[in-house]
Amino acid sequence: MSDAAMLEVRGLNAWYGESHILHGVDFDVRQGEVVTLLGRNGAGKTTTMKSIMGLVGRRAGSIKLNGAEMTGLRPDQIGRAGIALCPEERAIFAGLNVTENLMLPPKIAEGGLDLPTIYTLFPNLKERAASQGTKLSGGEQQMLAIARILRTGAKLLLLDEPTEGLAPVIVQQIGRMIREIKQRGFTVLLVEQNFRFAATVADRHYVMEHGKVIDQFRNDDLQNNMDKLHDYLGV
């Protein structure tokens, strides 16, 4: 694990049309880490993910991947640079079957998981290969949305609330999967509302509020900061 940040976000501002949503977001993700963005509804977590991917109308500030500036690039160029997003709404394609959904993202580099490994991690996807993508259960769709970005060779994965609305057993399965891909050298930026889940997978946490990062903790320190965290998240 090197100390230089793999992803370095500085002074990130973002807008949807006229609404100014992010007001100078700063954080780092180091190679091989799992880092979460925590925060209440509307704090700007999803917007931060989309901004990194180039999917908001306008953004300013700096986003560096391994030292290379991403803010001037189109989303496809950012994708080719090695960042992949699993969006909050999962974006499984209704017009594609499970296999087509899985194989849709092109390989951008070596080092992605091969199909047998993916099917070992997500056995349901193999059984349902010919089903229409959106006919899968919510949990299966989430698995598919994650699985399809593991194949491509992208090394920095942005997972936006992968556990949202899922049954506890599925949440545990996703937790195991995240620890597994961390073992395999992937780096993960994870958006979560459920910090109990986040604590089982993450190395560090950032807390967002009103379009800014307002605090950060190491996962080891989480217990000492429970009161603050309850306060931030209103739980």
């Binding site: 180039g54 989303p75 496809d76 969006p87 017009g95």
Partner: protein
């Protein structure tokens, strides 16, 4: 000669064939429109003009360069497709953030300009285009004489439609296209250059129109109005089939050609409006079209 439903069989089969020929053009043209609509979300009103341009390119290649019909089937779609790239990049791409209506107005205006220029240059009477030597004559099918060229048009159109359908529904390129019509932003984030894909989709759609134009050249004389007369009916076909449905546009195109042909036999007065009557009925009962998603 024998009779079917009290009509001479030769009349029936003759009109059926004419209907199939029209259907062949409806299918190719509405297929191109469906592909373009799916990806660009615009109704390409230039489609008829680009169909006409395809016929003119074939005519020009033969007249000035001595390039045969067969090469034109390949070259005219390439030339018109390249022109489509230009149109998309220079004009249409600027409109994606605006209301649909602007795309419609722009492509309609482009059609008027293209057709006007052609009329200015070539007059509106039209130029003959000979049927290629290999396809002259007719074949006795037993129940009727079929002009070879007409049989070829139906076969070529059906073959091309099938090919396009296979590419869109059964290949990974097609899967990417289908995905990009649903959610272009996410597809682009996977590293796919969606803006370029949109340009090429427009080019492919108008190339299909040009292919149809070359097929049409020996049947209708090559003239500046040949697209305009087709395109109104084709839009009705698209509405009936359901905007953007690939299989729907093919099936509806051929089907309505046949319906039109049969109407000529059984109720000749109605043949010019039957497609529009069908359109009204479909719109009243299934507003999204026969194959459209969403339904009521």
């Amino acid at each position: 000669m024998f009779m079917i439903f009290g009509y001479p069989s030769a009349l029936l089969f003759g009109q059926l064939l004419l209907g199939l020929i029209n259907g062949a053009f409806y299918a190719l043209l509405s297929l191109g429109l469906a592909i373009i609509f799916g990806m660009l979300n615009i109704v390409n009103f230039s489609h008829g003009a680009l169909f006409m341009l395809g016929a003119f390119v074939a005519w020009g290649l033969l007249e000035f360069l001595g390039i045969s019909y067969w090469w034109s089937l390949l070259l005219a779609p390439i030339v018109v497709g390249a022109f489509g790239v230009l149109l998309e990049k220079v004009f249409i791409a600027r409109l994606y953030k605006l209301d649909h209506l602007y795309g419609l107005l722009l492509t309609f205006g482009l059609a008027l300009v293209i057709e006007g220029l052609a009329r200015n240059q070539f007059g509106s009477s039209g130029m003959p285009f000979a049927i290629p030597r290999q396809l002259q004559g007719a074949t006795d099918l037993g129940f009727m004489f079929m002009p070879n060229y007409r049989g070829w048009v139906v076969a070529a159109s059906a073959g091309m439609c099938l090919l396009v359908w296979l590419v869109i529904e059964k290949t990974s390129l097609g899967a990417t296209l289908r995905a990009a019509t649903e959610n272009p932003a996410i597809v682009q984030s996977f590293g796919i250059n969606v803006p370029r894909m949109i340009t090429l989709t427009y080019a492919a759609g108008v190339a299909l129109a040009a292919f149809a134009g070359v097929l049409a050249a020996p049947i209708y004389s090559v003239n500046p109005n040949m697209g305009a007369s087709f395109i109104i009916t084709v839009f009705a076909v698209v509405v009936i089939g359901g905007m953007g449905s690939i299989a729907g546009s093919i099936v509806t195109g051929f089907g309505l050609g046949i319906v039109e042909g049969l109407t000529k036999v059984f109720y000749p007065q109605g043949s010019s409006v039957v497609i529009f009557v069908v359109m009204v009925i479909v719109l009243l009962t299934r507003p999204a079209g026969l194959f459209g998603k969403g339904g009521h």
